[in-house]
Symmetry: C3
Subunit: 137 residues, 3 copies
């Protein structure tokens, strides 16, 4: 069994941002030489998420509005008693989930036609990391 | 390490549908001969999901109503500017997540008593695929 | 490839409870001797979840309130026609997801600074299990 691990670093300009990272993950899978297996792509922070969906700007706006509606920024969160202001970011991250596992077949991400990997930042403007771990043979 | 990959195809009669697929996944795991490891079951589309929960018809109705309440059909989504009408289906899929990993122990799905795998279709009436990848030894 | 499987048992005193389990998972990973790979931590019940987020008591209260708002207890669920009263617990579990995969690098959970693993009980006061399966080399 082979393992190949890399870390992506993000430092967004905006407080919330959705970044398409499929090409970066594909490059890491190719570099690993792994033909069969999977790749785990997981945010290393609790106010960010990784998800798979469409790379369409209108949809990304919909996702952002929807998350803001279900877990609004700057509400009266108990977490803010610690001095933090990012209670909403924790809830948004929980909702979307911090990680995906993508299958690898014949050396490539075994995706359907519209599946793309995104890094979702909910409390940005500082350094954040994502682990990409390829596992297989 | 052994790998065994199959693809399930669904073409639902209804726009939204919840299909119990545990027997299909079990058959694939048995065919793989893998005794220890895991099986990744992942929708290959961005308007469908795979989840683990109870096979109880009332609950399935509750899940559908709940998703429709939190991510309603035919709302004023920006994604619809592209001509699409399935913005809700993307959000429902994000909420439920597109995939599960089920552990395999002694050649069987290592599940609790009521755990069952479901394919959740949120924009059906056309061909959709699910990848089932068994990995282990 | 090596596999090491253990089961954690929980019997919460409260109906809903959030239990920090990182030390238990770390001990199992260490016992497995696995240096590279991953650990699957998955609830074996359909009214409980496993998630990764911050170990901060205010935030845990926020998570509980938020889940109760989006999937309220004792609403008029169809699932209750079966005699059950835990419809909300199924929806809360679906929302948070029943499992996480944590990468292992150099024999340790490859986590960011604030990532912790939690068992979330939504219908407690009885025995519930979580599978911890370490896989790698």
């Amino acid at each position: 069994m082979k393992f190949h691990t890399e870390y992506l670093v993000f430092h967004t300009r905006k407080h919330r941002e959705y970044i398409h990272i499929t090409p970066k993950v594909e490059a890491i899978v190719q570099k690993s030489g792994i033909q069969e297996g999977m790749v785990l792509v997981s945010a290393m922070h609790i106010t960010a998420a990784v998800y798979v969906n469409d790379d369409e700007s209108g949809l990304i706006e919909d996702i952002d509005r929807w998350l803001e509606k279900l877990a609004p920024f700057n509400k009266d969160y108990r977490h803010h008693d610690t001095g933090e202001t990012n209670g909403d970011a924790h809830l948004k991250a929980l909702m979307i989930h911090q990680e995906v596992i993508v299958p690898i077949t014949a050396g490539k991400l075994d995706f359907g036609p519209w599946q793309r990997i995104f890094y979702a930042e909910f409390d940005g403007q500082r350094d954040k990391r994502v682990i990409v771990k390829v596992m297989g043979e």
